[in-house]
Symmetry: C2
């Protein structure tokens, strides 16, 4: 059954690849996984899923059945709801260390022209039932999207949006604290919206790569653009993180082909779980702006394509949440998997950290000479 509309099909013929992406992006299908499930015979879909999502303990990822009240919440408030279970092998000495983790992606609730406090309150009202669904599902650790209480206004470079900033113990924190204590959940977000990540608004941070030791496990946050930096991911791993969240806000043209790759590689290479969150929707801003890409001024950044997902250290991963709808993704994770894989694959053991430390130290010096072996014939041709 074709899920791409006729309008999308016509637009696919456009010569401008970017327009084609935009139009196809807003048509029909919720996720790659769903698109394949609906268009492939089951046996072929199963093999394709093995290649695309990997296997966990030698089997396709199991789904978790959630309680009816939770499902009802997702229908009533129209959010995508998916739940999976990452197993580890049974051990003889240790019990399984299972933690239930959730990700929430959402679009904003009011137009960006509404008064700021109304916008923020409306987002609170929008995510509240989704957080409650997470709590009712027994989620232990919940992460929201980057800058969740505001539109992603950094694209405008206008300083007025700074009014959304709050102190650490501001209203967003209080809102979440109430829900966190009700459900005994650890909830992560960007606690100081004043720590913006666009160079118009922020300076680079200097607080290192903290790992937060919670009641349920060791977690860390690698914000947005930080996912492009393997050494960022590495540092959280060296500090002992077992689950690293990447709350992001990104649009299709810049990043969609990379989105399934970077976090997944980080999970494999650093042997921890990764929760990737991206917001959804297209946000229209009141004043047009340009983006340094030659295009004329425009009032939106593009389509935030959601697609939040979890990646496991054994190279398996969940399907993605919807590319359009709000969503809650829940995964059980047996954290024993991290140590089992460290033992099995030996990546941490075989890494030549002393060589890399030495090389990076050399690289930073102005007199750094790259280790290049030149073809002697090249010099002869020049002379």
């Amino acid at each position: 059954m074709e899920k791409i509309s006729q309008a999308g099909a016509a637009n696919h013929e456009l010569n401008d690849g970017k327009d084609a992406i935009n139009n196809v992006s807003v048509c029909g299908y919720d996720s790659l996984h769903q698109l394949l499930a609906q268009n492939l015979k089951p046996q072929i879909f199963q093999e394709v899923s093995r290649l695309l999502l990997g296997l966990n303990c030698g089997k396709p990822l199991q789904t978790i059945s959630l309680a009816e009240p939770v499902k009802s919440l997702s229908l009533k408030h129209d959010f995508d709801l998916q739940a999976f279970c990452f197993h580890a092998d049974k051990e003889s000495v240790r019990e399984p260390r299972i933690v239930r983790v959730g990700l929430i992606q959402n679009s904003i609730a009011l137009p960006t022209t509404a008064p700021f406090s109304n916008q923020k309150k409306a987002i609170f009202e929008k995510v509240k039932p989704i957080i409650e669904a997470a709590g009712a599902s027994g989620v232990n650790i919940l992460c929201l999207q980057e800058a969740w209480m505001m539109p992603f206004a950094f694209c405008t470079r206008e300083k007025g949006w700074c009014e959304f900033a709050e102190p650490v113990d501001g209203e967003s924190t209080q809102f979440l604290q109430d829900l966190a204590s009700r459900y005994n959940m650890v909830i992560n977000h960007i606690p100081r919206v004043g720590d913006f990540n666009e160079s118009t608004y922020y300076m680079e941070g200097n607080t290192g790569h903290p790992v937060f030791e919670t009641a349920y496990g060791k977690i860390a946050i690698n914000i947005c653009y930080g996912r492009h930096h393997p050494l960022n991911w590495l540092a959280f791993g060296l500090n002992g993180a077992e689950i690293v969240f990447n709350p992001s806000a990104t649009v299709g043209e810049l990043s969609e082909p990379m989105w399934p790759i970077e976090a997944r590689n980080a999970a494999i290479a650093n042997i921890y779980f990764v929760g990737s969150i991206n917001r959804v929707g297209t946000e229209i801003f009141p004043n047009p702006f340009t983006s340094g890409n030659g295009r004329p001024q425009h009032t939106d950044f593009g389509h935030f394509y959601g697609s939040s997902h979890f990646s496991a250290p054994d190279a398996s991963c969940t399907p993605s949440l919807s590319r359009f709808r709000d969503g809650l993704l829940i995964s059980d994770m047996d954290l024993n998997l991290c140590r089992q894989l460290k033992d099995k694959w030996g990546f941490r053991m075989t890494a030549r950290y002393e060589l890399y430390a030495e090389m990076l130290a050399r690289y930073l010096k102005p007199e750094f000479e790259p280790q290049v072996i030149s073809d002697p014939l090249l010099n002869k041709k020049a002379s």
Copy 2:
């Protein structure tokens, strides 16, 4: 049209995921890309391809049309033949820097019980027409698979296979030198088979991360297991590599879900092209051996699943070569793409190398303290 045989279908029901993988692996389909092309409507396949292979300069990757004599060679000698073109944007000052790069994957030619010199010569004879096809196609830089002139015997841990080792200027080198000079090609392989990468046969190397400056561009080799280490990939990038090859030998159960991810992430994060090569076939050895995974002794390592491919720094990649057949993959690459993306995405610019160098140096010290912030309530519960 279903490509998975009935035998494969029946085996899919097995409870042992590993047996199911093995049996499905040897059935029917050549590659994920081909499986999807044959089973999805064109419009849906196009969108799926966009998500899985990315876009190059906003468009799906272009194929290259090769000359008839080359195609005839591929039919006559039964190897998969594919060719693609990675474009970059036009620049106003620099001309395009286009290099044509090839990868060869192949199975061994004779049983592993044959005399070693016969085995090696038979492999020479097998790959020769494929190298000639590359030369006739105007390939500038060609890379063969890991330990290409021998069966991948390291799984046996038997020292007799060391007889395959050669000095740097041994017969394999001479064989390739002849072809390289005939076609004015740079050809890469493991020049000293004595540099084995299995701990029974090798010690860890200490020659750093050399980049070879050839007539066609700066290249490097990241061998096999090295692909699991992001810092390895990084080091080649810091030394200025523009194309990094990963000649590997790997089997489905261990690595197939990871295979499309690691090299692709390395290309994106380090802003260079990556050529990933894996051998094909199942190699049966004369003496059974165990693998430390609880399974009884066996005489083969598993199925080497080929799937060689190129990854570009813009997150696009080629479809893979066959999972079963010998193959030659050719790609044109405009190396200007590397600098364009460094400018556009700013990964190199924004990397906090000084912080990472400092952190790695600290990590190596016995007194290293991970940066962990503990929930104060945890301590209270314990007391």
